[in-house]
């Protein structure tokens, strides 16, 4: 049975159909939670809250977007709310703008072929993970949805109710900021 048929059945009160939709999407939503929120407990909360909200809001789901996009919208709203409450230090919006305004303070050494870039370089992963986690919530969420989850600009626009130029700007700034952090790492390592 395809997604549309399941959604229709679920809307008309078929709980088995709803559970089938959960089964098909739960890993995606859980992983989104792990990536955005960075730990298992919060990802578990996100997973439960997303489906409880989805179940309760199902009668209002009009099918204008796909079921997936709709779920992502519920999940990212929950994640953003949670991230904004977090206490650990995030970089300021100004800081992220600076890294991308094209001035010449940018680190320019080309480390893209550095032999230290290996899948198993845990230190490098840690640096990058920390840098992603320090992004302001509205940047981090978009960066993860686009560059890690591979969602299109128009899907993200639907999920977050933001214009495509705004999304593009945030992706661009996030990338240059993260690039800058990795450049600093390679500079320390002597490139």
């Amino acid at each position: 049975m395809n997604e549309l048929e399941l959604v229709e059945k679920a809307k008309s009160g078929d709980n088995k159909a709803f559970e089938e939709l959960v089964k098909r999407t739960q890993n995606k939503i859980y992983n989104l939670g792990l990536k955005i929120l960075g730990n298992k407990d919060d990802a578990a909360d996100l997973l439960q809250e997303t489906y409880i909200k989805a179940y309760e809001s199902l009668p209002n789901f009009e099918g204008k977007s796909s079921f997936y996009t709709w779920l992502y919208r519920i999940a990212t709203n929950f994640a953003l709310m949670k991230l904004r409450k977090e206490k650990y230090k995030k970089i300021s919006i100004n800081e992220i703008k600076q890294a991308s305004n094209g001035n010449y303070k940018l680190e320019i050494s080309d480390w893209s072929n550095n032999p230290q870039i290996q899948y198993r370089n845990e230190e490098l992963k840690e640096i990058l993970n920390e840098a992603i986690n320090s992004l302001p919530p509205k940047y981090k969420t978009i960066f993860i949805l686009h560059d890690i989850e591979g969602l299109s600009l128009s899907e993200i626009s639907e999920i977050l109710s933001l214009s495509i130029p705004t999304i593009k700007t945030r992706i661009h700034r996030s990338r240059l900021y993260l690039r800058e952090k990795l450049s600093e790492y390679f500079k320390k390592k002597g490139n």
């Binding site: 559970e19 990338r175 993260l178 990795l182």
Partner: protein, 77 residues
Amino acid sequence: MNCRKIIKLISDYIDREIEEVKREMIEEHIKICKKCESILNTTEKTIKLSKVIYKNKKVPKRLEKILYYQIRIRYKK
């Protein structure tokens, strides 16, 4: 096109969200500008690295049970 403008367009270039004319201008520019070429290469690498730092996981069985329980208790209402 100067370096500042090139850097602003780097993401559009990487995502192929750019007009042909601008794409060609960037390609011409990076042939002669090591600085912008480095920024382009390292930005692309940053994106690639970001994709591999996370490993996708399955919902743990215990959590799955809780999830279905949480949903099912709402059926009765």
